[in-house]
């Protein structure tokens, strides 16, 4: 594995949760100062979370959707030039999470909005020259259950509508030359083996994401998962954690913040319990040549996380 090819996800900036100085993250200057720091840390590729919330609030300084990029830069091409001038050669991927649209008891609203904006995210990924769109195939189970107390009885309907949505998206992705990848979160309606059944119902062009921390939280081995499904892996997220869910946290409303015992679920890469060096070795042994993205989501300090991640990758490389 050439660790110099590994991308860093912009999810290392804690955009949504309270902390001092968070207001900086909403202004354009912050991001344009960040890009050269990413490059200086040895990352020449980035992954961008596609987030509509910045458009709705008119906070277009956050470059995480098409509206924001067009507002501040005019076009995706002009944004890519800005990135290139800062030492970022490419956008490797875009992620999309539909939790924003699980806000009421209307499934038509959820699937309508999710489908529309996932399509927009896909087109934006193509404009950015990204290799993949990694999509969370469902909102958090607990969030869905809050708005749909009868969720268990709706699972078949929910699954069929998800298949329809993702099938249409897959066709568009093929046409755009972007790989559609399913994320495999521990809090998903399609957690565990359910993700495989979902994948089987979709075109062969759709691949699986392997998020190492998410698997660890669910009590699964990322190395075993990769070995078993390597032909279907379309993206690997190197994430770290110390948390294993033994209390059903996956089905709570806020599963990345365990309510019974507060903990930082996603640790800076290299500071948790996941054997990331071992996973890199497995990827090399299996001949995996697809995208790999490091993610320090939930970090308490993005700039320390950048250096921690680079230090880890140097250890892996050597």
């Amino acid at each position: 594995m050439n660790t110099n090819e590994i991308a860093i996800s912009l999810d290392l900036i804690n955009r949504h949760y309270q902390e001092p100085n968070r207001n900086r993250f909403e202004s354009r200057y912050f991001w344009e100062e960040l890009y050269p720091m990413l490059a200086t840390s040895g990352f020449r590729a980035i992954e961008i979370p596609y987030e509509l919330v910045w458009q709705f609030g008119g906070r277009s300084g956050v470059p995480m959707n098409r509206y924001c990029v067009n507002t501040k830069y005019g076009s995706a091409a002009a944004y890519r030039k800005t990135l290139a001038a800062s030492g970022i050669d490419r956008v490797s991927g875009v992620t999309f999470d539909p939790n924003l649209f699980m806000r009421n008891g209307n499934l038509d609203f959820f699937f309508g909005a999710s489908g529309h904006f996932a399509g927009e995210a896909l087109a934006h990924a193509a404009d950015l020259g990204a290799d993949y769109l990694a999509i969370s195939p469902s909102p958090c189970y607990g969030r869905a259950a809050h708005h749909h107390p009868d969720l268990e009885s709706k699972l078949d309907v929910f699954t069929q509508r998800t298949v329809d949505l993702l099938g249409g998206l897959a066709t568009k992705a093929e046409g755009l030359g972007v790989t559609l990848v399913l994320r495999h979160e521990y809090w998903s309606l399609f957690r565990g083996a359910r993700i495989l059944a979902l994948l089987d119902a979709l075109p062969a062009s759709v691949k699986l994401d392997c998020d190492t921390a998410s698997l660890h939280v669910a009590g699964l081995s990322a190395a075993d998962f990769l070995t078993a499904h390597i032909a279907r892996i379309g993206c690997v997220h190197l994430t770290d954690t110390n948390f294993v869910d033994t209390q059903g946290i996956w089905k709570t409303a806020n599963p990345e913040f365990p309510e019974t015992r507060a903990t930082q679920v996603f640790r800076d890469p290299g500071t948790g319990s996941v054997d990331l060096a071992g996973i890199a070795a497995v990827l090399t042994r299996l001949g995996y040549a697809g995208p790999v993205t490091a993610s320090a989501r939930q970090t308490r300090d993005p700039f320390r996380a950048l250096l921690r991640t680079r230090a880890l990758l140097q250890r892996i490389q050597n």
């Binding site: 902390e19 015992r261 507060a262």
Partner: protein, 307 residues
């Protein structure tokens, strides 16, 4: 009982926990101050300790608060236990200027009123329509459409014990040329006004003159300071001007800007204002520091004038 009670407009971003049972352990995980901003228990205690016994929530908080607490009533009970009551919620009356959007704008406004009632609130400060950019300038008819929507929501709100207060942003399609026209086109018995002291100053109104002119319509305030009064059209009508590219702040804590807030308090005394005043800290890098700084300014500079 003082004439003015103080609240905070909620500008906390998502707060992921209700209450952290293992605070010391959580702190030691990475030894940063994130632990101090991660649960509602502490956020509400900070407010109560600094004498802000009300909180005005925002609709964008609901997606996180409701699944976390289960219901508006549960959030209110949790806050009340810590000495804070929910006084109301902000509302954006999107596209109320558009005649063909009347039913949707009224329906949305009524739903927001229902939500506020469940939280136990009595105020709904309402931005009358969306941003100027892409919408303005509004025609006279479009201003009247806004007024009709406000009156209709106001009627429903009044019937449910809630006061709606027009709340103008400096970048709203209702702007300096039609700001007063909208106010005067609404029914004073149904539609009130929330003065956001900084927003209307940036818009181009003189704060003291405006309050003097409309004191009998004022239901509540968003109190904040600014050093950027009377911005030109090119700023107010620009695309997404609220968050400046270079980090320029429009809003400051009371006393850190240039508004004559002591003059305002003299007028509050003159007109015997009674009610809630929400402090707003949008743009602050440190909401807790802003809250403490504001409390000091209130206690030493403004409350001695009128309390």
């Amino acid at each position: 009982m003082p004439n003015i009670r103080y609240a905070n407009m909620c500008h906390w971003k998502a707060i992921p926990y209700r209450q952290i049972p293992n605070f010391r352990e959580f702190y030691y995980e990475d030894r940063t101050n994130s632990a101090y901003y991660s649960d509602w228990d502490k956020i509400l205690k900070y407010q109560a300790a600094l004498g802000f016994h009300g909180i005005e929530i925002a609709p964008w908080d609901l997606a996180d608060i409701l699944p976390l607490f289960g219901s508006p009533e549960a959030f209110t009970a949790f806050a009340t236990e810590r000495g804070v009551e929910v006084i109301g919620m902000f509302h954006g009356a999107h596209a109320s200027h558009a005649a063909d959007h009347f039913d949707e704008a009224v329906r949305s406004g009524r739903e927001a009123v229902d939500t506020i009632v469940r939280f136990g609130g009595t105020y709904m400060n309402t931005c009358p329509t969306q941003n100027y950019f892409g919408t303005g300038p509004l025609s006279r008819d479009e201003v009247q459409n806004c007024a009709r929507v406000m009156n209709e929501i106001g009627r429903y709100a009044t019937d449910h014990g809630v006061k709606i207060g027009l709340h103008n942003e400096f970048f709203c399609a209702i702007n300096l040329p039609n700001h007063r026209e909208l106010i005067e086109s609404t029914d004073p018995a149904l539609v009130h006004y929330c003065i956001d002291t900084a927003q209307i100053a940036i818009l181009g109104e003189d704060l003291l003159t405006f309050y003097e002119d409309y004191h009998d319509r004022i239901s509540t305030f968003h109190l904040k300071d600014t050093a950027s009064a009377r911005q030109p059209d090119s700023v107010r009508y620009a695309q997404d001007p609220e968050i400046a590219d270079d980090g320029h702040r429009w809003f400051w804590e009371p006393g850190e800007g240039e508004l004559d807030l002591k003059g305002l308090y003299r007028l509050l005394k003159k007109h015997a204002f009674k009610g809630w005043m929400s402090i707003e800290y949008d743009g602050s890098p440190d909401l807790l520091a802003s809250m403490a700084l504001t409390r000091y300014h209130l206690d030493t500079e403004l409350r001695p004038i009128y309390d």
